[in-house]
């Protein structure tokens, strides 16, 4: 298609060329084109197929609102090509059609539309269940819009940004630009969000001469738009997000913004909504044929891209501004065969005289009845409207044409305001929705308020900007005076702006013909009438039953038509139906943008690289990476039991508790007593919830009277930290809890030769008499200031050595070197699990769950009922008095059973296995299991379900290895 003569209003660069692929052919475009404008220029008329009936659809709104131009661009489905700028090499493919847009086999579905009445899935497929089985695969196949390419990996593709602004402006039209500029001038930090490829809003394609009432600048609309946009872009206090869609308003003045592949959380002290208004189509037979476009869309195509969307046009409008499109079309060399004026009162304005001069037939009090054509509009039939607003069909006239420009009515884009508590009502005098109330911290400016005169829009934008900034930055004398003057000006102008809002008209026609109310979901006038007849006569119900307004346009094209149809069917006026609740997202947002980047934090110990060098198999433990095994658990087990082994236990949670009341705090938190613990000693402790359930366990070392060093399980540290701090605050204890997990690297050196290794590196007397089991000392190991804890999780003589984490790797290297002559081996988590199981040391979270209390877990000795109070005391008292029901016991079997297997007696599951491993020392399977109290006796037998058979197990109450703990104390 040839372009019109070059004009400064155009946004295309005619000297440049861009080419892209569309459905297997190459399409040429200019820089500045959108995919949609380039395709229209290449002669494409059908851009998509409709959701349900696969009706042909062409460009309609050309502003990214309607569902008519959804295509797959570079593998991304449902892209609105009318606002997607062309990029070299784009791969554009039509969707929802087969074999092609022009010939779509699925269009046959319209022939059987009687099978698909409104709510058909509630009516037709529920009675015979077997039928649904047959129908479901078919329904699933044909339903939906666009295909997601699951082979595309989104990893690292999406990002997230948190933005704070003093003033946020949504909408980059004249009102938004003026507001942003004014707020910044007054000293506010501003963020401006606009969804179009360029700032300027509708002024971008406005060619009328205008005067900026603030700067006094005059020029054609688009020139003013560019100069305003330039000023805003160059203002250091304004950050522009464009093209970006503000898709939702949330509590706390938060606006969700989709900026390409980035989700922006935009929070502002004050928000100015200058989102303007949008046009919606009219209701008549075949109102969705390609070639029928919204008036504003046609103006964009004519001016921005200099395209002629047709040769013979009919203009349908309800006011002079929209009717003036006929002049623009005439000037572009498009023959206007009729200017249909839907106003009930005929008027005689300068415009109408001008139309007559140009011999454009002006039809006052007429309305469209039907469009003719199969895949393209060929003619428009119009009929006069009588005084009651009824169409006189017998007097209808038909105009052959290939373009219909519809300007039925406008609705303000009030979604963001409504989502924050703003209210909208239908004004019967203006025949339009108007803002009734605006939430606090918000203001609205421009078209959204019904303003049409660009000068008033600029004025109101500036007022809104100054007022928003004023709450944070007191205005100077100049700006204060200016604000007052602007207010006066607007008040004078106010008298005439409302009158320019002109009725959107809904005329009575028969509903027996195809009139599309909701373009997204293919809901017809008949569907609405049927739904109302079935009793769904309230807007919210009607929406859910017919799915109207639930498609990609989110009701922008249809909500007024649904409300009008509903009002007409019930013989009410339009104030009654109201509107449906507005919820985010206002626009479709790719799920990836909401899901965000796939980043998982990983914590590595200082010795991590040594583990990798030693060939460790890594495993995930919470956010940590830990060695599972290095060689084999048998090898490692043998080193620990017979020589010496070393394990990295840096991941243990570590807390320092200090302060005068630290002993009281620990006595409250733990079931055990720690106020009596002597300095330099260590005690094992269990933490319970208020319900007596085990939350955590670990060692508590007393460094000084008012200073404890605590270890917790790896995954629980954050919780325990906040738990302790909370109780300290609740009781007003003078105790300070500090999480030092990352500050210390730690290893456990254990085995018969552990003392030999350690004595090479330290001057501390570590003989068994001087450094007893469960003692704590501070001193130097390998020259590093260290904390030594003599404890024995694995059941051998051993020390936990805690050093500042920067020395972790050095400590590891030194210990490995010192241990070489004794055959030292590093061991992993898996080996540690076998070693501790042989000692029947439980692991919280592995052997306990949300029902495990320490009494039943076989740790009565840690619960000190003699204490006045501790967390969980009341409920543990109850367990004590009512008697234990279950017990955690050790067991042996001949065969390795799986963790989680059921404990069975008399063919009934009565418990479960929590841990099980082959013990090299017994050469049998050892484990722990929850069993009923009556089975918890040493030597008792029970069965474990294993691969559909039963394995016989025997309770073993004492540790399997070194039951007296002699080796620990050696």
């Amino acid at each position: 298609m040839d372009r019109l003569d070059s004009h400064p209003v155009e946004v295309i660069d005619r000297s440049g060329r861009v080419s892209f692929q569309f459905d297997g052919r190459t399409v040429q475009a200019h820089p500045g084109d959108t995919v949609g404008s380039a395709l229209l220029a290449s002669g494409l008329r059908i851009f998509s197929r409709s959701f349900k009936y696969h009706r042909p659809r062409g460009l309609l709104c050309v502003s990214g609102n309607c569902p008519n131009c959804l295509m797959n661009v570079n593998g991304v489905p449902n892209v609105r090509v009318c606002t997607r700028p062309v990029e070299e090499g784009d791969q554009v493919v039509p969707q929802h059609c087969w074999p092609s847009l022009r010939w779509d086999a699925m269009a046959l579905i319209e022939k059987v539309d009687f099978l698909l009445p409104v709510g058909f899935y509630y009516k037709t497929l529920y009675r015979a269940r077997w039928l649904w089985k047959l129908a479901e695969p078919i329904v699933r196949r044909v339903a939906g819009l666009g295909r997601v390419d699951s082979s595309r990996s989104p990893a690292g593709h999406y990002e997230r940004e948190h933005l704070f602004a003093e003033v946020a402006v949504v909408g980059g039209g004249p009102a938004g630009l003026a507001a942003a500029q004014a707020a910044a001038e007054a000293g506010a930090e501003v963020v401006l969000v606009d969804e179009q490829p360029e700032l300027g809003g509708h002024l971008r394609f406005e060619r009328a001469k205008l005067e900026d009432p603030i700067s006094g600048e005059t020029g054609e609309g688009f020139e003013l738009a560019r100069s305003l946009a330039e000023k805003v872009k160059n203002n250091e206090r304004i950050r522009v997000l464009s093209p970006a869609r503000a898709f939702g308003g949330y509590e706390g003045n938060l606006i969700g913004v989709a900026l390409a592949d980035r989700l922006v959380h935009l929070r502002a002290d004050r928000l100015i909504v200058a989102t303007g208004s949008f046009e919606f189509p009219g209701l008549f037979k075949n109102n969705d044929l390609p070639g029928i476009m919204l008036g504003s869309g046609v103006r964009k195509l004519l001016n921005l891209y200099r395209l002629k969307p047709g040769k013979r046009a009919v203009v349908v409008a309800s006011n002079d501004e929209d009717l003036a499109l006929a002049l623009e079309l005439h000037e572009a060399g498009i023959s206007v065969v009729a200017a249909v004026d839907q106003r009930l009162e005929s008027s005689d304005s300068a415009l109408i005289r001008q139309l007559k001069q140009l011999q454009i037939p002006h039809l006052p009090c007429f309305a469209p009845v039907a469009a003719r054509g199969r895949s393209d509009v060929r003619a428009l039939e119009v009929a006069p409207v009588d005084a009651e607003g009824c169409l006189e069909l017998d007097k209808s006239r038909s105009f052959p044409c290939d373009l219909v420009c519809i300007s039925t009515g406008r609705s303000p884009s009030v979604e963001l305001l409504r989502q924050n508590g703003g209210k909208v009502r239908f004004d019967p005098n203006l025949n339009q929705n108007v803002l009734d109330s605006i939430p606090s911290d918000f203001s609205a400016a421009g078209h959204i308020n019904g303003l049409k005169d660009p000068a008033l829009i600029l004025l109101q934008g500036r007022i809104a900007g100054l007022e928003a900034a004023e709450s944070m930055h007191p205005l100077g004398v100049d700006l204060k005076e200016q604000l007052q003057k602007l207010r006066d000006n607007l008040d004078q102008g106010r008298s005439d702006w409302r009158e320019t809002v002109v009725p959107s008209v809904l005329f009575t026609t028969s509903s027996a013909v195809k009139q599309l109310v909701c373009l997204c979901e293919d809901v017809t006038r008949k569907d609405i009438d049927n739904a109302i007849a079935e009793g769904f006569d309230e807007m919210e119900l009607l929406k859910r039953y017919t799915t109207s307004s639930m498609g990609p346009c989110q009701g922008r094209m249809c909500s007024m038509l649904v409300a009008g149809s509903c009002a007409q069917a019930l013989d009410r006026d339009l104030t009654t139906p109201g509107t449906t609740t507005s919820r985010p997202p206002v626009h479709p947002v790719p799920l990836g943008v909401l899901a965000g980047p796939h980043h998982y934090p990983v914590k590595l110990t200082p010795m991590h690289h040594r583990h990798l060098e030693a060939g460790a198999h890594q495993m995930d433990l919470g956010e940590w990476k830990r060695p599972h095994t290095y060689t084999s658990s048998e090898n490692e087990w043998e080193a620990v039991r017979k020589r010496v082994g070393i394990i990295d236990v840096t991941t243990l949670g570590k807390l320092e508790v200090q302060g005068r009341d630290a002993p009281q705090l620990l006595d409250l938190i733990y079931t055990h007593i720690f106020s009596t613990l002597k300095v330099g000693r260590i005690r094992y402790g269990v933490i319970c919830g208020e319900d007596g359930i085990i939350v955590d366990d670990g060692t508590v070392s007393r460094i000084a009277e008012d200073h404890y060093y605590i270890t917790t399980t790896t995954g629980n540290i954050s919780f325990i930290e906040s738990w302790m701090e909370w109780w300290a605050v609740v009781y007003g204890y003078c105790a300070h809890v500090t999480n030092v997990t990352g500050d210390f690297a730690a290893v456990n050196l254990a085995g018969p030769n552990a003392r030999d290794v350690l004595s090479k590196l330290t001057d501390i007397d570590i003989s068994s008499d001087a450094f007893k089991y469960m003692r704590f000392e501070q001193g130097e190991v390998a020259g590093i200031p260290s904390r030594l804890l003599r404890i024995g999780f694995v059941g051998e003589t051993g020390w936990e050595i805690h050093v500042p984490s920067s020395y972790g790797e050095y400590l590891w290297d030194t210990l490995m070197e010192a241990g070489e002559e004794f055959g030292i081996l590093p061991f992993g988590v898996e080996t540690q699990r076998i070693l501790r199981l042989e000692k029947q040391h439980l692991i919280v979270g592995q052997d306990t769950d949300a029902l495990s209390n320490p009494l039943e877990a076989g740790m009565q000795w840690v619960v000190k009922f003699e204490k006045e109070d501790f967390i969980g005391k009341h409920f543990l008292d109850l367990v004590q008095s009512e008697g234990r029901r279950n017990r955690l016991v050790g067991f042996v079997t001949d065969e390795l059973v799986k963790e989680g297997s059921a404990v069975v007696t008399a063919q009934t599951p009565v418990g479960r296995v929590t841990s099980a491993r082959m013990s090299p020392i017994l050469n049998r399977c050892v484990g722990m299991a929850w069993v009923p109290e009556e089975l918890a006796e040493d030597g008792a037998n029970f069965d474990i379900s294993h691969h559909d058979s039963l394995v016989s197990a025997q309770v073993h109450q004492a540790p399997f290895y070194d039951p007296t703990g002699a080796r620990l104390r050696e």
Binding site: H162, E251, L254, S722, V730, N739, D869, H874
Partner: protein, 98 residues
């Protein structure tokens, strides 16, 4: 849930930086009946009005404080340290538990 909470230490921050500690309530004494303990442990008022609750600034200063929030609007009308509870009037709930 996108409201702001003004941490008494750090100032207004997104609610996502905090962990809720639930409604403020009194811990029963050791000799209180089972019913009182069950109520403390398992029952919350959860009423649609302003109430006092615990918040922990887990992604910030890691301090516990109290906030008064309207559960129906998520508007946080005030935040304060627990020791200020007593100054806030004689509400039976608004007392230190021990």
């Amino acid at each position: 849930m996108s409201f702001l909470i003004a941490c008494p230490n750090c100032g207004p921050r997104s609610a996502y930086e905090f962990r809720s500690g639930g409604e403020y309530q009194r811990r029963p004494s050791g000799d209180a009946p089972d019913r009182a303990w069950a109520g403390y442990l398992y029952f919350r008022k959860n009423s649609a009005e302003e109430h006092i609750e615990w918040w922990y600034h887990s992604s910030g200063c890691r301090l516990w404080f109290l906030a008064s929030r309207d559960t129906s609007t998520n508007r946080v009308t005030g935040t304060f340290w627990p020791e200020e509870l007593k100054k806030r009037g004689p509400s039976p709930d608004a007392e230190s538990p021990k």
